[in-house]
């Protein structure tokens, strides 16, 4: 006990990291499930269905498969870098999540540490960019070290692409930073009123003052650049499977491949979190605080899910799947009941809205993937440099002007 009371920061951080890592890894796995399901339903088919009820155990099966596959290293590869690259990609992808606040900073551990973010840095945004800017190494080194032409081309493409889009990504965010006057995530969200430009409050009493409204152009730029930054359709050129087989990870197999895969989804989650924080009000509820019934939304949602699962269990599932979905039903129902308990319902608001917003953005991602063709490399580059960058620069300049204009008028 002595150690725990002496080092509250360290202990809280370790606990939070462990829990967060577990949640994020599970979320990664089920994000693949979600993606496959959503795309399948868009394409009028079922998607994973056989491993577990509704394919719910598919991520587990995939993980096991990746673990037990033969791990092939090409004989001509640079072994050290070849092994380093996937670790780099995944660890950087996961590190960024430590900076994200999933709920209001006012919710505290008994020892006075925030529950919902691992670290609360004053320049969190800058650090997030610092970490994501390193992400290109994983991809570039993987492409180079495989000693394969397809991988090399993929690696070159991706390093060029990520550098170019990082510029637009950063600049599209600066507008929000100018409005909020801070680099701290919690302050960017608006949980703590900051000076005259604090964003809490509502227009017309119900439209939340989120940055997406004054910074709509910035939001669009950010979303586009973020998709390019995470190598997703229509900007998935580094791994364009019909051109470069699998791009930079052509030669990777087994768990190293899985690590790239997880890194990609971790990056998706990170940029979605960032979009949520910067533009969509983070963990804030979209409804005015006076509407207290919203506290029961998470519980009600889970109960609804439980009802659907129960119906589905009885009407559709047979055999072992019935048992599996029954467990899901019980979990959802129990969780729903717990979430209806007022103190918990109040405490869970932040993460609930945060997750809901992230899921909306992720759904948008997946939807894009199912709809759009892929850009060509030169088109991608000219899109980034000739359209996205000027637009986000213009957005920045206009925002700056709007902020400075009153000061200039005063003299």
């Amino acid at each position: 006990m002595g150690f725990i009371s002496q080092h509250p920061v360290l202990v809280a951080a370790v606990v939070k990291i462990a829990v967060l890592l577990f949640i994020v890894m599970t979320a990664l796995a089920y994000l693949t499930w979600l993606e496959r399901k959503v795309i399948a339903h868009i394409q009028s088919r079922w998607g994973p269905y056989n491993v577990g009820a509704h394919g719910l155990l598919q991520p587990l099966a995939d993980g096991l498969k990746f673990l037990f596959k033969e791990d092939v290293t090409p004989p001509t590869a640079d072994r050290f870098i070849y092994t380093l690259a996937p670790f780099l990609a995944l660890s950087l992808g996961l590190t960024t999540i430590a900076l994200i606040p999933f709920g209001p900073p006012s919710v505290l551990f008994p020892n006075g540490q925030q529950i919902f973010s691992v670290v609360d840095l004053n320049i969190g945004l800058l650090f997030l960019f610092a970490i994501t800017s390193m992400g290109v190494y994983g991809v570039a080194l993987a492409g180079w070290s495989s000693n394969s032409k397809y991988a090399l081309l993929g690696g070159l493409r991706s390093s060029a692409q990520m550098i170019s889009y990082e510029v637009s990504l950063t600049i599209s965010v600066v507008g929000v930073v100018l409005l909020a006057g801070t680099l701290n995530f919690n302050e960017l969200i608006g949980g703590i009123p900051h000076g005259s430009t604090g964003q809490t409050g509502y227009w017309l009493h119900f439209i939340p003052k989120w940055n997406v409204i004054p910074q709509f152009v910035g939001f669009l730029c950010y979303l586009t650049a973020a998709i390019a930054e995470t190598n997703r359709v229509p900007f998935d050129l580094p791994e364009a499977e019909t051109e470069l087989v699998a791009g930079f990870h052509t030669e990777y197999s087994a768990f190293k491949f899985a690590m790239f895969f997880m890194a990609e989804y971790a990056n998706m989650i990170t940029v979605s979190c960032l979009a949520t924080i910067l533009f969509l009000g983070g963990w804030l509820s979209p409804f005015p605080a006076s509407w207290t019934w919203q506290n029961y939304l998470p519980g009600a949602g889970l109960l609804l899910l439980a009802v659907y699962c129960a119906w589905n269990t009885v009407s559709e599932m047979r055999g072992i799947a019935r048992l599996q979905l029954g467990v899901v039903t019980l979990l959802a129902g129990g969780g729903g009941l717990i979430c209806l308990y007022p103190p918990i319902a109040a405490g869970i608001q932040g993460p609930f809205w945060f997750t809901a917003k992230i899921l909306a953005i992720l759904f948008f991602y997946i939807w894009m993937r199912a709809t759009l063709p892929r850009f060509r490399y030169d088109q991608l580059m000219s899109f980034g440099w000739k359209l996205l960058l000027p637009v986000s620069l213009a957005n920045l300049v206009i925002t700056a002007f709007v902020i400075v204009w009153p000061l200039l008028r005063k003299g």
């Binding site: 090399l152 493409r157 499977e241 019909t242 199912a370 709809t371 759009l372 063709p373 060509r376 030169d378």
Partner: protein
């Protein structure tokens, strides 16, 4: 680290070329095509198709089989349009023998080959779209293709290798309610085609990827010998169905679809328009096909007698036995019969020496000839365009290599 790229020693100036073997195992070479690309960065300096990985020697095999036995081989040439190949071979054999197929069988043949054109174009649309990254169209178009495959199965008992057209007519009398199925599919199809066009035609990325890519002028197309949508996309209105009507295509009302741009987008438009034209032809054919009537020509000794005749009359039994054991012997001579397969002019050159086996069969495969245009289409462009160009030439490697 061994060298991945070679710095070519050129006295004139720095030239850094990387030789990339695209294929024979590659997701977008539609089988086992190998394209040797010389790259400067992402720019293709030269593209050289290397073929022969699927060479099955069908032409040689035909020489040791009777005419009717060869039909099963023709399914395997262009495995995306087996009925077109059946038709080409049967028409050539019929021309060689000199028999006329009853009108009803001709209409059914037209109907089914147009369905084949639709399925083939649907596969093309799907694979071309997935080549350019639009994966949903692929699954949609395969859904529609599946419906048509079910019709094949219903009519002939087989989904792909149907061998349904036989010399002198058809293999079987189609089931009585098959036209209702066709009608159902044809009623739904135009809506689905609109759906694909919604997804692609006005899509800016799609346009950017296909417009102005892989341009082929009309003169080049003719010089290369391109046919089918590749030729029509370059503005040459040559369609064997119109120019040299066969199987009573002259009785059908349809238009030859052309575009003048000659790029990938033009070929895309031509093919989509052709699907719509094919639906039109199928609808007309459905009107023309009578519920009963002969489905085979009457030619004792060449066309097998009906099942009933075989079982009840001694001549029928003898003919049946002779046809299926030693075949029949057309007069010596050579014929060349061209049909419009989904990929272009499918020509069957057949030489007979008066024996029961074809002396020489040559399939003028449209994919084989169209593939020659690949270097012209993609040299000086980017790798991604190579994929688009391979896509819009719509090759089937089974047909290229035969």
């Amino acid at each position: 680290m061994t060298t991945k790229t070679t710095l070519i020693e050129t006295p004139a100036g720095p030239a850094k070329a990387m030789v990339l073997n695209m294929g024979p195992q590659h997701p977008s070479t539609h089988g086992v095509l190998r394209v040797v690309l010389e790259l400067d960065g992402e720019i293709v300096l030269s593209a050289r198709p290397e073929i022969g990985y699927l060479h099955t020697g069908i032409e040689k095999s035909c020489e040791s089989k009777t005419y009717s036995q060869c039909i099963t081989l023709t399914d395997r040439i262009d495995y995306l349009a087996p009925l077109s190949n059946n038709l080409g071979f049967c028409l050539a054999a019929e021309k060689l023998i000199g028999i006329e197929v009853p009108k009803r069988a001709q209409y059914i043949r037209v109907l089914l080959t147009e369905l084949t054109r639709i399925t083939s174009h649907l596969v093309w649309l799907g694979t071309h779209a997935i080549d350019l990254g639009a994966m949903t169209v692929f699954l949609y178009s395969f859904r529609e293709r599946e419906e048509i495959m079910k019709i094949y199965e219903y009519v002939s008992g087989q989904r792909m290798m149907t061998s349904y057209f036989r010399i002198g007519g058809l293999a079987l009398e189609p089931p009585p309610d098959w036209l209702d199925r066709v009608r159902r599919v044809m009623d739904a199809l135009p809506g689905h085609i609109d759906e694909y066009e919604d997804l692609l035609t006005q899509n800016r990325i799609w346009m950017a990827r296909t417009k102005g890519v892989g341009c082929l002028s009309a003169e080049d197309a003719i010089a290369i010998g391109a046919s089918g949508p590749l030729l029509r996309g370059s503005g040459v209105a040559y369609d064997v169905r119109k120019a040299f009507p066969y199987s009573s295509y002259d009785e059908f009302d349809f238009n030859v679809q052309t575009q003048t741009a000659g790029d990938c987008f033009a070929r895309y438009q031509v093919r989509v328009a052709e699907i719509r034209e094919s639906i039109k032809i199928v609808r007309q054919a459905m009107e023309k096909v009578t519920p009963d009537g002969p489905f085979r020509a009457e030619a004792p000794g060449i066309i097998p007698p009906s099942r009933e005749e075989m079982k009840t009359s001694i001549e029928g039994l003898i003919y049946h036995f002779k046809i299926f054991t030693e075949g029949f012997a057309p007069p010596p001579g050579e014929v060349y019969q061209a049909i419009e397969s989904p990929r272009g002019e499918l020509g069957v050159f057949m030489a007979s020496d008066g024996s029961a086996k074809p002396y020489r069969v040559k399939f003028r495969a449209p994919s084989f000839v169209n593939l020659q245009s690949l270097p012209k289409l993609c040299e000086g462009r980017l790798i991604a365009d190579v994929v688009a160009c391979i896509g819009t030439t719509d090759i089937v490697l089974g047909e290229v290599d035969r």
